[in-house]
């Protein structure tokens, strides 16, 4: 192996948040070689993004960061370096592609000037790097302000900006989370090419194992700011030796996952608790914890199963097979419903929106969002709508929910008030009201007695896997997974006839997404709901839905049974979506 570009050893970062100091990274050690792509995976709050910021020397100063240990970047020590050294390191050695393409470009500066700042270069190089990032009309892009560009275009601009500096190390922090699968596939290709052609070392931070599989050579699993496992991605995926990574990899799903039974995952979402200082950070969640796990911190050590390192006392002894079977893996009970009373029917629905004006005197153009969509869902049936962003799938959901009125066409819904589960569970809960009150809101018209309402709320919380005592908690006291369950509880406290889900799992890490899919699948079967599930993730659509509808530019291009997704008769749009789906299993097998 060549000399590593980056060597991190015993890195510790303490940040202040709301006046309290949190240990965000704890004794992290790893190295990345030139041309190598290291995927960093873990749940939200595991310290993934902080790791990226620490390597750039860009920890937020108002969090009063305390850093110890060492980060060596091609021989230059980052920890404790004076600002001017850090600046030149950022200029020459390490660049980052941030998570949110919408906020990461200066809105008052043209793309050309922002690129020009990135490396001292001439116009030709600017255009050249935009082209290489996959932007074909580079002249228009270079002259534009960011608000004129789409999310995918902005993300490519950011990649171009990082690439043109020819850094030795690139930190990509969830660069494709906000993008479509097809755009994501193109960007992943660009990242791979970059590593191969320029010998750039890349740290790819992601919550999506399939994406990690598509780009990375090695994987590092973080939990609670500590490294759980590191090793070659293929070996770790086949044979994870840390119970957390075993859980993580077992919960993954893709286009070939068995959809007749629940995904293998924990039954309940755990309450996040203080990670103990002395023992193993995973102790409170671990199913195979021993008594010494709470008192002695496991050191990273070699294992027989693969060539990497694992921080678990029982890494060598545990038989892997017992790990991910917390949930009953019986097949879903009941027949799939194909015919029944129609819960939702859309006939020839059209919707157009006013475009932003380019010039004051121009009339605002109408942009069609939906063009003659037909859709019908029977009671007890689950239908997924998939498509790229801009295909009109969110508009479709809002029309079905009655939040937006259609321009023309007929919308008939069995339920006068269908329930919606939104994308971001935390922002869908009112921060100043206890969750019990928010859940009980839908009981108000039916149940007048407050005590009775409390009882019903408690029951519902239990049925979604939450402790009934949490009804008095504020949303900020819950974890993301618990918030998602609370939202599901609100939707089903009075079982609706129709449940609408708007990309509920797109920002979640794998175990949480799998648990949410299981919960929704379970509830809709138990309560006999009709469900409309909007997503850009074909694998999730296939698992949750009986029928899949593919939208493209406001029109339904294809509609088929979920089991028939991979059938050779699928149309071009669907095939493109299928091909863009990265898959970990395919990578392991291949």
């Amino acid at each position: 192996m060549d000399d590593p570009v980056l060597t991190v050893s015993r890195l510790r970062v303490v940040l202040a948040r709301n006046g309290e100091r949190h240990r965000v990274l704890d004794e992290i050690s790893f190295a990345v070689a030139p041309g190598e792509i290291l995927a960093v995976v873990g749940e939200s709050g595991a310290g993934k993004s902080t790791l990226g910021a620490a390597i750039q020397g860009l920890l937020p100063s108002d969090a009063a960061p305390e850093v110890s240990g060492s980060i060596r970047l091609t021989g230059l020590e980052i920890v404790g370096s004076p600002p001017h050294l850090l600046r030149s390191a950022r200029r020459l050695l390490v660049r980052a592609v941030p998570q949110d393409p919408m906020g990461a470009l200066n809105p008052t500066m043209t793309i050309r000037r922002q690129l020009h700042e990135s490396a001292d270069c001439d116009e030709a190089l600017i255009l050249e790097s935009l082209r290489r990032a996959g932007l074909s009309d580079e002249r228009r892009i270079a002259g534009a302000h960011p608000h004129r560009l789409s999310g995918g275009e902005r993300q490519r601009v950011l990649i171009a900006m990082a690439m043109m500096a020819r850094p030795k190390l690139l930190i990509a922090d969830e660069p494709t989370t906000a993008l479509d699968v097809t755009t994501q596939a193109q960007l992943l290709q660009i990242v791979r090419d970059l590593a191969r052609e320029e010998q750039t070392a890349i740290i790819y931070i992601t919550h999506d194992l399939n994406v990690a599989a598509a780009v990375a050579d090695r994987v590092m699993v973080l939990f609670g700011g500590r490294m759980a496992e590191i090793g070659s991605l293929r070996q770790v995926a086949r044979n994870p030796r840390h119970p957390y990574s075993a859980n993580l990899f077992a919960a993954r799903y893709d286009l070939d996952t068995d959809r007749s039974r629940p995904l293998p995952t924990h039954r309940a979402a755990f309450r996040h608790d203080e990670t103990s200082d002395r023992g193993c950070g995973y102790f409170l969640r671990c199913q195979i914890a021993r008594s010494d796990c709470s008192s002695i911190r496991p050191r990273e050590r070699r294992v027989q199963a693969h060539s990497g390192l694992v921080a678990c006392h029982r890494s060598d002894e545990m038989p892997l097979a017992i790990l991910p079977v917390a949930a009953p893996r019986d097949a879903w009970a009941g027949e799939e419903v194909t015919a029944g009373p129609v819960a939702l029917e859309l006939m020839d629905v059209h919707k157009r929106f006013l475009a932003d004006r380019e010039r004051v005197w121009e009339r605002r153009r109408l942009i069609p969002a939906l063009r003659g969509v037909n859709l019908s869902i029977a009671l007890g049936q689950s239908v997924a709508v998939v498509g790229e962003s801009g295909s009109g799938k969110s508009t479709l959901l809002k029309i079905a929910a009655g939040l937006v009125a259609a321009d023309s066409g007929r919308v008939s819904c069995l339920d006068p008030r269908p329930q919606v589960i939104f994308q971001d569970p935390v922002s869908a809960l009112t921060p100043w009201l206890p969750i019990g009150e928010q859940i009980g809101e839908r009981l108000r018209p039916h149940v007048t007695s407050a005590a009775e309402r409390r009882r019903r709320v408690g029951e519902t919380l239990q049925s979604v896997g939450l402790d009934p005592s949490l009804m008095h908690a504020l949303p900020s006291e819950l974890s993301v997974g618990q918030c998602q369950r609370a939202i599901v509880a609100r939707a089903v406290v009075v079982p609706p006839k129709l449940l609408l889900c708007d990309e509920p799992i797109s920002a979640m890490d794998v175990p949480l997404a799998a648990a949410t899919l299981n919960l929704l699948n379970d509830l809709r079967r138990r309560l006999g709901l009709a469900m409309l599930f909007v997503t850009h993730d074909l694998a999730a659509a296939r698992i949750i839905a009986d029928r899949i509808i593919v939208l493209n530019k406001g029109e339904v291009v294809e509609e088929f049974e979920a089991n028939m997704l991979q059938s050779p008769s699928r149309g071009a749009v669907t095939r493109a979506l299928i091909e863009a789906c990265p898959s970990l299993d395919a990578m392991i097998a291949g």
Binding site: L58, R95, G103, A104, P107, M109, V360
Partner: protein, 329 residues
């Protein structure tokens, strides 16, 4: 752009109409009688009646307002009750002094704002500096004007604090004495005019500059936490380049809006400063008109100030659209 300016011109007309109408309406419902004010408290009722006729005070309010609008569009603002001069003459006489004060104060405010911004950027994290800014922002114009007059005029005698000029004989052509002095080949007049301007202009400029810089500080504080600032830092730019190139321009919108808000308070401040420093401008003219409920004069000054106000708001909006490409006119 042309469309925008046309729209704004209509806005100006509406503002002036509404302003004049409000004052007219109030005047019709109150018991006070300008005719009595002119004729004096002991005048016989026949004299008062003659004055009323002369001023057209017996007509219905709508007729009076209509006539007023006709006259104004012809450039006639009526006769001041107090000075017995046509208001338009009075306005022309006092306008240059006020414009000169406002212009110098604006330039001074920009300089002050620039200096304070530098101070702010230098010691961005200093709590003490924040408190100094709060204290400056809490200083009422009455205190700062009186303090400036007391310290620099009475105590130190560095600067004059009353009137526009010590040369009683000097008659300017434009009414802007700084320029007139240069035109007449008497630089000492210009210097003296500037010396007289220093204290009142500082008093007007200080609250303005402090308010703008405080809002810039707040806005910069938010902007520096935006992801694109992190992107800029990630390019390895120096912190100065990050703040100047990426921070300030994005933060400029809020202080510009603050300029508009401050303009409302500015007129009150201007009136106070002109009367503390005996500055013979429109503000002093208006304050004196208050005492006699001199309606034509008050209306005339209001129209001039209203016009200035709307013009400045337009300038602020133009500046905002220049700094932020997302704002379209």
């Amino acid at each position: 752009m042309a469309f925008y300016l046309a729209k704004r011109a209509c806005g100006l007309a509406i503002v002036l109409m509404v302003m004049s109408f409000i004052v007219f309406l109030l005047q019709s419902v109150i018991p006070s009688d300008p005719a009595r004010a002119i004729a004096g408290p002991y005048a016989p009722s026949s004299t008062i009646e003659t004055v009323r006729q002369e001023l057209g005070l017996n007509d219905p309010i709508a007729v009076q307002y209509g006539q007023f609008l006709m006259r104004v569009s012809a450039g006639d603002l009526g006769k001041s009750v107090r000075t017995r001069q046509p208001v338009s003459n009075d306005l022309l006489r006092y306008l240059p002094a006020t414009l000169e004060l406002i212009s110098v104060a604006t330039i001074l405010a920009m300089g002050l704002a620039f200096g304070l911004t530098l101070l702010l950027l230098g010691g961005a994290r200093s709590q003490a500096l924040r408190h100094v800014f709060i204290a400056l922002g809490s200083t009422p114009i009455i205190l700062s004007a009186v303090l400036l007059a007391y310290v620099f005029w009475f105590r130190l005698a560095w600067l004059p604090g009353s009137g526009r000029l010590q040369f009683r004989d000097f008659v300017g052509t434009t009414g802007f004495y700084v320029i007139d002095g240069l035109l007449a080949g008497r630089p000492e007049v210009s210097v003296d005019a500037l010396a007289h301007l220093a204290l009142p202009a500082t008093a007007v400029a200080l609250p303005f500059a402090v308010a703008v810089v405080r809002s810039l500080a707040g806005s910069l504080h938010d902007v520096m936490r935006q992801p694109y600032i992190q992107t800029a830092r990630g390019k390895g730019l120096s912190e100065a380049a990050v703040v100047l190139r990426h921070g300030l321009r994005n933060a400029a919108s809020a202080p510009l809006a603050m300029t508009g808000l401050q303009m409302r308070l500015l007129f009150g401040n201007l009136l106070v400063v002109e009367s503390v420093f005996g500055w013979p401008g429109l503000g002093l003219y208006m304050t004196q008109s208050f005492a006699t409920a001199d309606l034509p004069a008050i209306l005339g000054v209001s129209i001039v100030f209203g016009t200035i106000y709307v013009l400045v708001s337009i300038a602020v909006e133009l500046a905002q659209s220049l700094t932020d490409p997302r704002i379209e006119l």
